[in-house]
């Protein structure tokens, strides 16, 4: 049955469908609704555990520890909270804890504009923790997709045995659409990692060998571990080459947008081709190269000062035009005028 559901609600319900049994979080706009929903859900479902943590640091640590203990676990936050979670996320990659982090982006840096949408956390999502990591991140643009990608994120987490990012923005999180979530067919990956209390393993953030022995001055062991993790994440990412490409004959340019921006760009579909990456990280390099090849003009419209555009440039090896929608300003008229300005200009 169809009902009116928000992006936040759909993500929570998707997580439940994926088999999540643990949520820890800290109140923050615009994902407090997920925290509240988890608290209410836990009241009626004793198998589902909930913690309102003292801060996002604790929330992230709790999620990773709960995952190691055997639960499918997740948390939801926004930019400032996500900054606090970075250390834990790095730990999650090293101790190989499958779990999901929802980051609904709002205008930053710092407290910024707490109720205004942005897409400016991509840099910290991809590389905010210390050292080299290769996180997988998905970014829906509809309520139905919030649900479906929540399940996908949990599945990718199980396969990559790592924290996986599910992205949103202040707009999408509070966006209501008529959807039939119960009727949606999804595939759920089971938990395969052995829970705690079964062995004598060491889950440590210190560089270690396959036996779990700490190795703090062995570059070759670190190198092997990093190569293995990179390959594992690459293989799992390859299973989810998710994007949407809407070609238009005689298009003046290719527009690239994701999340809430891609919804706005749909209004320009009759004049432009549109490419929407759904898997934001690892960047869809091959797909971007193939799609952009037939366009002389590529314009990236996004809620940051060109964060994703830089990755597109790196992937396709040439400059692109940027339309940064900053400070929560996602107005179609303004975006259209900016695109037309880029078309008149001599730029890329």
């Amino acid at each position: 049955m169809k009902r009116l559901v928000s992006g936040n609600e759909a993500m929570f319900e998707g997580a439940i469908r994926a088999g999540a049994t643990y949520f820890a979080g800290y109140p923050i706009s615009p994902t407090s609704e997920i925290l509240q929903q988890a608290a209410v859900y836990a009241e009626d479902h004793p198998e589902f555990r909930f913690l309102q943590a003292e801060d996002e640091i604790a929330a992230a640590i709790a999620v990773i520890s709960a995952s190691l203990a055997g639960a499918k676990a997740f948390t939801a936050t926004s930019g400032p909270g996500f900054s606090l979670m970075q250390e834990a996320i790095g730990w999650g990659h090293v101790v190989e804890a499958p779990c999901v982090f929802v980051n609904a982006m709002r205008v930053g840096p710092s407290t910024g504009m707490p109720t205004q949408p942005a897409q400016s956390d991509l840099l910290q999502i991809n590389g905010g923790t210390a050292g080299d990591t290769y996180p997988i991140a998905f970014y829906p643009n509809s309520v139905a997709e919030c649900f479906r990608l929540a399940v996908t994120a949990f599945n990718a987490a199980e396969a990559s045995v790592s924290p996986v990012l599910l992205l949103s923005d202040a707009f999408l999180s509070h966006f209501y659409e008529l959807v039939d979530l119960e009727g949606m067919e999804v595939t759920v990956a089971p938990r395969t990692k052995e829970p705690l209390g079964k062995g004598q393993r060491l889950f440590t953030g210190i560089s270690h060998d396959k036996m779990g022995n700490t190795r703090t001055s062995h570059p070759e062991i670190y190198g092997e571990w990093l190569a293995e993790m990179k390959a594992r994440h690459g293989q799992v990412a390859d299973q989810y080459p998710l994007y949407e490409y809407l070609p238009q004959k005689g298009a003046k340019a290719l527009l690239i947008g994701f999340g809430i921006t891609s919804r706005i760009l749909l209004s320009l579909r009759d004049q432009f081709s549109i490419f929407r990456p759904v898997r934001i990280f690892p960047v869809l390099e091959k797909e971007l190269r193939e799609v952009t090849a037939s366009y002389s003009k590529v314009i990236v419209v996004e809620g940051s000062d060109g964060q994703y555009a830089s990755w597109v440039e790196r992937a396709i090896g040439r400059r692109v035009s940027k339309v940064p929608c900053l400070g929560g300003g996602f107005k179609l008229r303004w975006i259209r005028s900016q695109i037309e300005e880029r078309l008149r200009g001599d730029g890329p």
């Binding site: 640590i61 520890s65 440590t204």
Partner: protein
């Protein structure tokens, strides 16, 4: 013959440990393992968690599924594990810097939530792994790498923080008082709810030598001088006492609504003794006399309130006076005065 079966709980293949000779951490790990062995706790029913630092290495030498968390986060990790797997015993072994400084917020809140975990804190009053910087428990005046003229601030009193409100279990012991130490470990592991054992321990190499101690044993003797064991169950421990302070949950106070139902009908105003302002003045609490105050035509006996006497007296809480006018300036409402027994009327 000494029972050495506790060694099954230690990863002997990883020996020698990273700890300096004479360090107290080895004694902490060994004694915890001895009691775990005695209680039958092993890798099938127990998980151990550590933070970062020398003390944080304990979990990695123990034959359990062990979590070695980021700095300061051991308690949160332990609480989450216990939540997901209530059938597992969860033991935290870490240091004072990890638990009380960088992890201080988690210490406050994990204890507030009374997570059913046991915490062993190797409290050596220094950041040892990083070379000997002042920590949250370093006594005032101690010279360290970051307090070269002596630590400026008072140390955090873990015993006071953790015994604010029942239920709580806080034990203080040292690595020198071995029998007492093992008894604390045993009681803490058996405690239902959050239990914390503050183990005064020595860091001879990176703290002790700077303080003038030549051997670890001299530091042990120093612990013996500084602390003494108190027997029996205490509510709180003084700073020089070793012992166990514990308290179960107090029964819930009856709600206000219930109190009201049981309240007796009020006596009528006329039947009560009249007080002139001069009469009232005599009841100011001096020389052990009761404290009466006037309020809206009535006289109340506030002798039981500490806020009307001695050091704790609040500014406008004056015995023997009519306080009706002062109430408007008070930060609280009149309900605080109405709850006192009514002994007369203002004439």
């Amino acid at each position: 013959m000494i029972d050495r079966s506790y060694k099954e709980l230690i990863k002997m293949r990883r020996y020698p440990t990273t700890w300096c000779p004479g360090c107290g951490i080895g004694a902490v790990m060994k004694n915890v393992d001895m009691v775990l062995r005695e209680l039958g706790w092993n890798h099938r029913n127990t998980a151990v968690v550590s933070g970062i630092g020398c003390s944080g290495r304990m979990a990695s030498y123990m034959n359990f599924d062990a979590l070695h968390t980021p700095h300061g986060r051991a308690l949160t990790a332990a609480e989450a594990i216990k939540t997901v797997r209530p059938e597992l015993n969860v033991v935290v072994l870490s240091g004072d810097g990890d638990l009380a400084s960088i992890g201080g917020n988690h210490l406050l809140h994990t204890s507030r939530r009374n997570a059913n975990i046991t915490v062993f804190c190797n409290d050596n009053e220094i950041y040892g792994l990083t070379g000997g910087q002042a920590g949250p428990t370093t006594p005032k005046g101690t010279k360290t790498l970051t307090s070269v003229r002596g630590e400026l601030y008072r140390p955090l009193r873990l015993g006071r923080i953790l015994t604010q409100e029942p239920p709580y279990f806080y034990a203080r012991t040292t690595v020198y008082h071995l029998n007492h130490f093992q008894a604390c470990i045993r009681e803490a592991l058996r405690w239902e709810g959050f239990s914390f054992v503050d183990i005064i321990s020595d860091c001879i190499e990176l703290n002790g030598r700077r303080l003038g101690f030549k051997t670890a044993h001299q530091m042990f003797k120093w612990f013996d001088e500084r602390f003494h064991v108190v027997e029996g169950v205490m509510d709180h421990l003084k700073e020089d006492e070793l012992g166990i302070a514990k308290a179960e949950t107090i029964a819930e106070q009856p709600s206000r609504a219930m109190e009201k139902e049981e309240a007796k009908p009020e006596p009528s105003l006329e039947t009560l003794k009249p007080f002139t302002p001069e009469d009232l003045k005599a009841f100011d609490g001096a020389d052990g006399r009761p404290i009466y105050v006037g309020y809206k035509g009535k006289v109340y006996d506030v002798t039981s309130s500490p806020l009307f006497q001695g050091e704790n007296r609040m500014r406008c809480h004056l015995g023997g006076k009519d306080l009706t006018k002062m109430m408007s300036a008070a930060p609280h409402g009149e309900e605080l005065i109405l709850k006192f027994p009514w002994v007369g009327r203002l004439a």
